[in-house]
């Protein structure tokens, strides 16, 4: 099973200027890890650093199955790690299925057509996110939340071992958010590594296996959700507001009460 390891990893937008630093964690395949923290704590930068995007400078190490992912060539990395940004541009002029097919790019040449297998994978991905009905609709004619599902399907069609998602639940309603986190949980159960930033702990049910808590660009805690959420007033001090986090049942969903003293 895959294993993603970050050792003393830092990332920022100028050489030596880290927006997030000192992150160390080991994530095994088959788990969903949530990256949480206040706005500006470095959640998105961490994902962008792992992806080695242009203009993002990283230090420390990130390995996938003992291979330094920053030494992989782009295509090799694209075959192993997929990424969904917070606000991807809507690729207008394309239908949903055409948009999903863009995720097959690392698996074929830059100008070749879509094979029947590519189309099948794309349609399967749309089905997985519950968006089959959108297949032939233009992406600039569907809602923001529906586009979110289509983009998620595009990421799934890339067929990678690791998926990094930046706020995947943003702009999704309760039903679709629950469906999304259930899907991520199911994918992880199949052996994948899912690393997702989120501001909405309560929208994710009990999908997280691990939680990384960031504050002001530093890693404050990493561990099982119980250890992070129920660790005294850790969340209250990080979010600078009284917070109470409970579970609906011993194995149930997480519920957050911001602004309430414990």
């Amino acid at each position: 099973m895959s294993e993603l390891i970050l050792k003393d990893y830092s990332a920022g937008y100028s050489p030596g200027g880290a927006a997030v630093s000192g992150v160390s964690m080991k994530i095994a395949g088959g788990s969903v890890t949530a990256v949480i923290g206040p706005n500006g704590s470095g959640k998105s930068t961490l994902l962008k650093g792992i992806m080695s995007f242009p203009g993002v400078y990283g230090s420390g190490s990130v390995t996938l199955d003992s291979m330094d992912i920053h030494r992989m060539n782009r295509n090799e990395r694209a075959g192993k790690i997929a990424y969904l940004p917070q606000f991807p541009p809507i690729p207008a002029g394309l239908t949903a299925v055409e948009t999903v097919l863009l995720g097959r790019f690392p698996h074929r040449s830059a100008w070749s057509g879509d094979s029947p297998e590519d189309v099948k994978i794309a349609l399967d991905a749309l089905e997985m996110v519950g968006a089959t009905h959108l297949a032939n609709k233009f992406t600039d004619e569907i809602s923001g939340g529906e586009n979110r599902l289509v983009n998620l399907a595009a990421v799934l069609s890339q067929r990678t071992e690791v998926i990094l998602l930046d706020e995947p639940g943003a702009s999704l309603d309760y039903g679709h958010a629950a469906q999304l986190w259930k899907l991520l949980s199911d994918l992880a159960a199949g052996g994948m590594i899912i690393l997702a930033t989120t501001h909405r702990i309560e929208m994710s049910g009990n999908a997280f296996d691990r939680v990384l808590l960031l504050s002001e660009g530093k890693s404050v805690a990493f561990g099982e959700p119980e250890d992070v959420f129920l660790s005294g007033d850790l969340l209250s001090s990080v979010y600078k507001t009284p917070m109470e986090v409970r579970r609906s049942s011993p194995e149930g969903s997480w519920i957050v009460f911001p602004g309430e003293a414990d």
């Binding site: 992806m51 969904l84 940004p85 690729p91 002029g93 830059a110 100008w111 233009f138």
Partner: protein, 310 residues
Amino acid sequence: MKRTLLILVALAGIGIAVSLATGPLGRNAPGQVIMYLRLPRILLAITAGASLAVSGCVLQAVLRNPLATPYTLGISAGAGVTAGFIILSGISLPVFLVYLSGTAGALAASTLTWFLAGRGQRDPSGLILAGVTVNLLGASVLLLIEYMSPASRLVEIIRWMMGDLAVAGYRRVLFLLPFLVAGMVPALLKTGTLNQFLTGTEMAESRGVNTVRERLLLLIAAAVLAGGAVGAVGPIGFVGLIVPHTMRRLAGGDYRKLLPLSAIGGAVLMLWADIFSRVVISPAELPIGVILSLLGGPFFLYLLVKKPRL
């Protein structure tokens, strides 16, 4: 796509036939007029139109801006300055060098745009802002040149800026051909990459696209196509805007279809605009740039109101 392609091929065929048959013969033998005046003019319209349309189509994806045109990178301003300077100075250059000077100015301006924008490391919007700056600078220098020019040369400069397809022989077509090939081949080979640019830099990178390198390559291809066309026919506007948007409406936004269709569409538009330019005030000619500007203005308005697909 097949229907659109059939319509375009039909329009091209009819356009070529009409263009061959249109215009005064004077005292020349019809065969000579067709062979050395009308046929090279048709070929020039086709090659320049395809170049400008593909250049605009590429830039709209790479810059992620539906209003991007070949001139967004400062190409017309650069070409205008060099052409204006040569006309003002009265230097007598071999004809190939005259064409080449316009192209050199165009490519120099787009290079300046690239460096002003931080060599494409940042968001594509930086390139658009740098292009606007270079266009303004070029327009100011051209104004100065026009102010300093005697009346006869001023008219010549203004006439050059309106574009011109009047041609005797195949020199201009031969001049444009290497630029067409050098720009069109990488653009056609990179249609899948252009599709990736539609989803933004980060998604494209995550799928294995080296966005900095590919953006530079595609910008060079677009600049070479537009620079060659401007050197050969002058800064004819709007082809690079109208054609990709129309094709996108007709055949969708997949660049593997859109780019080849835009090449054919650009050729067809230029061919028919040239025919109109010859018949509207016949036996005199209206500059093709005027015809296309008259089409382009309302089309810009349509873009603003309808917000068509990128």
